[in-house]
Amino acid sequence: MSVDTPLPEAAPPAAQTSELLRVEGVTRHFMVSGTRIDVLYDCTFQVARGEVVAIVGQSGSGKSTLLNLLGLLDRPSGGSYVFDGVDTTRLGEGRRSRLRGEGIGFVFQQFHLLERRSALANVGVPMVLGGVPVFRRRARARELLESVGLGHRLDSQPHQLSGGEQQRVALARALSREPALILADEPTGALDAASSRMIMDQLLAQAELRGAAVVVVTHDPKVAERADRVVELVEGRTR
């Protein structure tokens, strides 16, 4: 709740310049009716600012679980996660929400746009949460939608858009607060080959333009190919 108080001290400047996030010995298990299910045993890796990292691995290997941890949507069972110089493992819910809103943009496989709301309104939501005044919000949402080639569909609602178009709206929304990190969980999983390529082109181009790092979970070798680095998850460990 104390979102207006300053975030904890940033890490030393040396680390801040190049390193965006660092995951160290992160574990995650779930309890399902009394039985413990270990999903992540020991994940250790880092991502530099502006870097594009692909996470690959078999189905059920814990890629989505890891991405949720990176996105501060979930807490690790053990280990540490430093994002943008802040050790997030000890942060309260309010600060995690704020850090997430300011620093991280999401692109989901299922788009997760808000129904019955225009593209423009959808792109505006993170800015509402960030307290951006309404006029600036609308102008910026329009600009972002134009930059992903949807300047002519500002008032369309999600059900009036194709999958690829919806994902472009989601991309514009993810970019709306200039995050340092874009997390994408199989962003092309629900799209055909042509749309997939277009989305990936735009995702990578926009991220490069804005200096944002991208962590993308994917099954698609073509997507993984385009990353600066590939992290493979095998039996709950990063390789």
Binding site: L73, E93, G94, S97, H112
Partner: protein, 416 residues
Amino acid sequence: MLRSLTAGIVLAFTGSRANIARTILSCAGVVVGVGALILVVTGSDFGQRYAVAYSEIQGGRAATLQVEINGDVTDRDALEEDLYRAGGEQVSLYQMPSGAVRVRSGGADVPDVEIRGVDPELGDIRRITMTRGRWFTEADRESLAPVLVVNESLAASMGDLTRVQIGTDRWVDARVVGVIADSGMDFTWQSAYLLRSPATEEILFAPPDSEEAPQEGFGFYGGSNAYVVRLDPDHPGVEDYGEGFSESLRTVAWRWGVEDPQNAIWSYRADSAEMLEEPLLYMTWGLLGIAFITLGTGLLGVLNVGLVTVRERRRELATYRALGASRFTLFVAVVMEAVVVSVVAGIVALAGCWALAALGSAVVTELDLVPPGVDLRVPPSGVLLGLGSAAAVGLLAGIIPAARALRASVVAGLRE
């Protein structure tokens, strides 16, 4: 904190606009409940104003006593002085003429006219609504012709108000200076107020003809002398329905020649608003209770819909969280949505009540069921209570779903 709050409110407004159908369905109970509340307050307010108007027209403003002194008064000036001394703030004669007074207009007799001799002060003691002309002034006392104010019924029978004559044994030209509204609440007699002045002294106070038998058995030997007297409502003389006032008059009755003051002097409370107020209050509370119960059922309706939609909207709420909404923001958003829904319902109810009141008002004034100036309308207190309780219902009905929404896991919500 502030940013989370405003963000929550913005989300709530866009959210409720996106869910209009659900909104309308969920608030039917609130519309009925709030409508019932507003109607009760409106009815009670109307009843109270009606009672006050009725009482002020028929009896007088609080607190008015009607005072009667039977028997011959030897010194009227001393009596009237004592009426003021005993606590009267305004005093007016309120007396039927001792003999039969006839009225005619343009030479034609107007039968069955009730005439009362009064002073200009009556205009301050009672609520008098002029439809034409004016009430008496002190200057009218100097008129050489008797001065009258008639009611509308009488004015209608008279036709030409410029050629009016009154008299007991001979006709005198009279001057009509104003017409007052019929009270409209009971059978309306043709009546006239006759200003007491040197010109009307004889008509009002002439000793009765010996043929007109004294009303034996009541101890009315001479005439009866009647007054209305307004006292401060807190004056001790008002207590016991005016008995205190009679008592203090009786002690000085010798000054104006009344011999058996115990039996000759009476006063009683003429204004009745206070007496009507208590039962009205009980009735209002009873009805308000019923209206609140109705509103309670409406609350359960909104709560139920709120719980269902929070479950349906887990994905949407999780998406908000992923986009940076804090728990507090979502809490505010969900509660505010319920408040917006309820207040909209309250406004709908208010509009309905307003229309009903306007219709009712038109009917009762058209049928002449209410005193002039008393209309049926939603009072500000009704608006306040209606919208306030609608907002309160929204708050109450929003809190439980909002708390539920907070507990839900973001990751699980996104997987739906």
